[in-house]
Amino acid sequence: MNRVVVTGIGLVSPIGSTCEKFWSALVEGRSGIGPITIIPTDRLNIRIAAQVLDFEPTQHFDAKRENMLDRFSQFAVVAARAAVRDAQLEFTEELALQAATIVGNGAGGMNTLDDSYYRLYAQNATRAHPLSIPRLMANAACSLVSMDLGLKGPTFTIASACASGSHAIGQAFQMIRLGQTPVALAGGTEACITVGTIKGWEALRVLSADTCRPFSRTRSGLVLGEGAAMFVLEERERAVARNAPIYAELLGFGMSADAADITAIDPDGAARAMRAALIDARINADDVDYVNAHGTGTALNDKGETVALHKAFGASAGRLAVSSSKAVLGHSLGAAGALEFAATALALHHQTIPPTANYEEADPDCDLDYVPNTARNAPIEKAMSSSFAFGGLNAVLVLGRA
């Protein structure tokens, strides 16, 4: 089997859209959560989110093209371009014919959907915009990345709610490993901070009204986010031969389904995905130094995920460093796994563990080392990034130092 490495990272995030800005905010625990300003809030009970505020579409797209892209596609295309630049990768005609494009998103063009329905139902418009459907379809981001970069190999969208980004990266990893493609653009994107989406999340009663405090006894729920992270994944020998920068090596991918509750985490299902990822990577539990947790900041997830870590790692759980990036990034749903994969790859690259920000008090139900509030310089050889989705779909990736 081929070895697979990460040679390019492209980001659009609430804490900045370069690797440098993203990493410094993560390490310093500077949160991207703030008052919602990108949509009207008069009908919202929850008025905070982690928004991408420094994104100006006209800097990236001409007017004609911009018209075709919902915000979630804009994020994906801009992140994909940045990943290719970062990887110093030139697509020859031959490579473009082989390259895979796999994008994870939980929803689709929700801004387009919201705007379109508002016009129809609230303003009694008689017709929808002709690009409504191509803008909002779930595969729009993936298709537009492939069109923008001219990539013509296997190209599709993976939708598994909050695990979409991780499933997409895992799928690309497996294809390169099996020799189905030498290079893949893979990651996740989401932009669903809309009135309709937030009202839906409010009704589930899992949103925090103040901020996200993963694993802290005082946690009060999750905070929605948005953004995209795209990666150039590459067959290792090829990357080494062209002297590409290598952030980390992808070692294993584990998946499972809970087949239980539609929203609540099932520690058994989550632990099975972690174990599967360790087995796939052919490593032992005590080889893992750091886990970038799903850590949503809800009472149930963080307790259930802690139980799952104990189940999967046994006695080794006590020596793990575990942190959640969601206090800083918010929960960007389908993009979350990808943004957190970036955090994990950069942790290996910089040999630094980003902290769990906003951590206030220990919770007896959450008894692991969550690296509270302060980053830690520590040797990291192997790391894990976990995503557990609504619908009970779990995806776990294991990475190694380059």
């Binding site: 009704a203 589930l204 009663r205 729920g221 929203t263 609540a264 809800t298 009472a299």
Partner: protein, 98 residues
């Protein structure tokens, strides 16, 4: 219709059981309500009476699992059909006095 009967009707519909089975003493967990059922019931009551019932998802989960072996019935805002009716009654009265 008295508030208790509206409450029984909404709970019965959500749990797909005959309304006659519901007494004020019936416990939601024993009726088989799961976390999302509780959230749906509360939504139904909020819509019916135009009130806001404070409830977090984890409270709904504790409430639904209170009777199970690994359940935790601590700090739940209500347990029985009668408790729910009491809360609705208070919120409706508070709204009327505004």
């Amino acid at each position: 219709m008295a508030i208790i009967d509206d409450v029984r009707s909404i709970i019965a519909k959500s749990l797909n059981i005959p309304m006659e089975r519901l007494t004020p003493e019936s416990r939601l967990d024993e009726l088989g309500a799961e976390s999302l059922d509780v959230i749906e019931i509360v939504f139904g009551l909020e819509e019916k009476f135009d009130i806001t019932i404070p409830l977090k998802a984890d409270e709904a989960t504790r409430l639904a699992s209170a009777g199970k072996a690994d359940g935790d019935g601590q700090n739940v805002p209500f347990s029985t059909v009668g408790d729910v009716a009491d809360i609705v009654q208070k919120l409706v009265a508070a709204k009327a006095s505004q």
